[in-house]
Point group: C2
Chain length 322, copies 2
């Protein structure tokens, strides 16, 4: 099923249509609970397990949503993107499922598992230096050489409409949520989560979680303009990017608050989920778990939906392993 | 619901009654699939996720089954056992749920996470040297001092009837299995798996998986008498024990074959499940996954049930982490 490209903030109907269209390209992931973590948090937590999503992360939702909005002619030339990992895999798998080529620009510091997985989906990878400018320049070159369409990792309403389907499912599958929390990197998931919450569960609180070390979204939220990170010293490799103007626009209006968490609390939360829930999650989605545990004054007594964004971790480099 | 103690090999009716009785003390765990591991195995695998079981392992089934067969007077004095880990936690939690004390004898080399978890359930722990004789002597002392009832980790029909419920659920929740495979340590799970397969899915093949380094069950199966391990050099800490006469009796009659696997294949299989399925499993249940991948001539083209026995791993000591 093809969709029309979005040039506006996705409406409830846009998100519903997107969900129907991408259904065959994604998994409807389960919602897990954990009594011992609930006891520690003093809250009832409902974990949306996007680590079980295709490519191991929610990014498959946004990439497939964007791909299904291209014309036949555009699609034939393939999909392209720059990404530190999960979005790359999602674009690669979307292209594979649709039978077209994928061209991926990746920073040369990307985790080995993410590079291998992206290659495994048949994508052609071009490495670049680990900064925004190098990514953009390299991508531009790839796009001009191939005619492929660039799928932005987050600052694209077509992508946001796809990411919104994770919170839509969580809301549909969980009774009486009081709040929902997601991590903020570029803000695509956060934007989609906020929109779905407003449309499908009006009245619930919407929070973002962000590492203190890369608190650009927190500062942007407070200052009212897009702020940037001077350094990217966080283990949460998916959260190092800055907001875009589209995601900032949605987040500044629709999110109730952004909570920042320390690196130590992220690592501890990641380990806690592995130990108690027996599931593999990546550091980026340990940030909201850390936030729920670090801010009991916000969450105690509530029913809180927590989006676990992905499970792509380099198992040879774990922060708690000796 | 209380049950009568079993002094015979559990019948189909015994296992059904056990399943009903323990239902409130266990989780009905999900069955997961993984397309990429299927592709590697050339088979359709159905993973019974006992890593999501209470205490993180199938042992909760057998311990609760045995506890529910004690009289009020026996129960009041508490439960006791010796165990390298998961069975200890299961006895401790069963005692806690039934409101009676638990006394656990553990080898002093037990993984820290398992000791902490057992203490967390309120059990009183007595450490001993890491050999069978020390365990048994220390346990005998604890039992004579407290009057608690010893729950054997595996060589007990009451325990076997409980472990059998894992395969019963897997068979109920999966269409048309051709084969089922479980790891063999003391043989409690293997015995229960074989019985449930014969009763509830007659005609399917039943396999055991065992590390080459502790292949006592394999040798016992071939020789027709209980063999012992000279050394226990395997990462699969749950599979180091020898068979008992009850488990050997069932396994020698009801199991089709026992397949041995190398340490390297166990570690690779464990890592594969973590990476591709995003779930935490312990080395003991990586053995059947390794067997399915190591013996394509046995499993190719089949629908195979694989019991993932547990997820209690010391995250600070992972074989693939640098």
């Amino acid at each position: 099923m093809r969709l029309q490209p979005l040039h506006h903030i996705p409406t409830a109907e846009d998100i519903r249509a997107t969900h129907l269209a991408i259904a065959s390209m994604i998994h409807r992931t389960p919602v897990f609970t954990c009594r011992s973590i609930d006891a520690m948090a003093g809250a009832s937590l409902f974990f949306k397990c996007e680590n079980f999503q295709k490519v191991g992360a929610f990014k498959m939702r946004g990439a497939s949503s964007a791909a299904l909005r291209l014309t036949e002619a555009e699609l034939a030339n393939g999909l392209a993107t720059h990404s530190s990992g999960n979005h790359a895999q999602a674009v690669a798998l979307s292209a594979k499922l649709l039978g077209v080529p994928a061209y991926i620009v990746m920073p040369d510091v990307s985790p080995a598992i993410k590079v291998a997985a992206t290659e495994g989906y048949g994508a052609r990878i071009t490495f670049c230096s680990n900064n925004q400018q190098a990514r953009e320049n390299t991508l531009e070159k790839v796009v001009s050489e191939t005619g492929a369409t660039f799928i932005h990792p987050y600052n694209d309403y077509n992508v946001i409409a796809g990411q919104a389907t994770a919170a839509k499912e969580l809301i549909e599958d969980t009774e009486g949520l009081d709040a929902i929390i997601a991590p903020i990197g570029g803000g695509g998931l956060m934007s989609g989560t906020a929109l779905s919450s407003r449309y499908f569960a009006p009245g619930i609180k919407v929070y973002g979680a962000e590492p203190k070390e890369v608190d650009d979204a927190y500062r942007s939220f407070k200052s009212g303009r897009i702020e940037h990170n001077a350094t990217i010293n966080t283990i949460a490799d998916g959260l190092r990017t800055n907001l875009g103007e589209k995601t900032f626009g949605i987040i500044s209006r629709e999110v109730d608050d952004i909570l920042t968490v320390s690196e130590e609390s992220i690592i501890a939360a990641m380990r806690l989920v592995w130990e108690r829930m027996k599931i593999v999650i990546e550091p980026s989605c340990a940030a909201p778990v850390a936030a729920v545990l670090s801010y009991p004054e916000v969450f105690a007594g509530l029913r809180v939906g927590v989006i676990l964004t992905g499970g792509n971790v380099d198992l040879e480099k774990l922060p708690f392993c000796q």
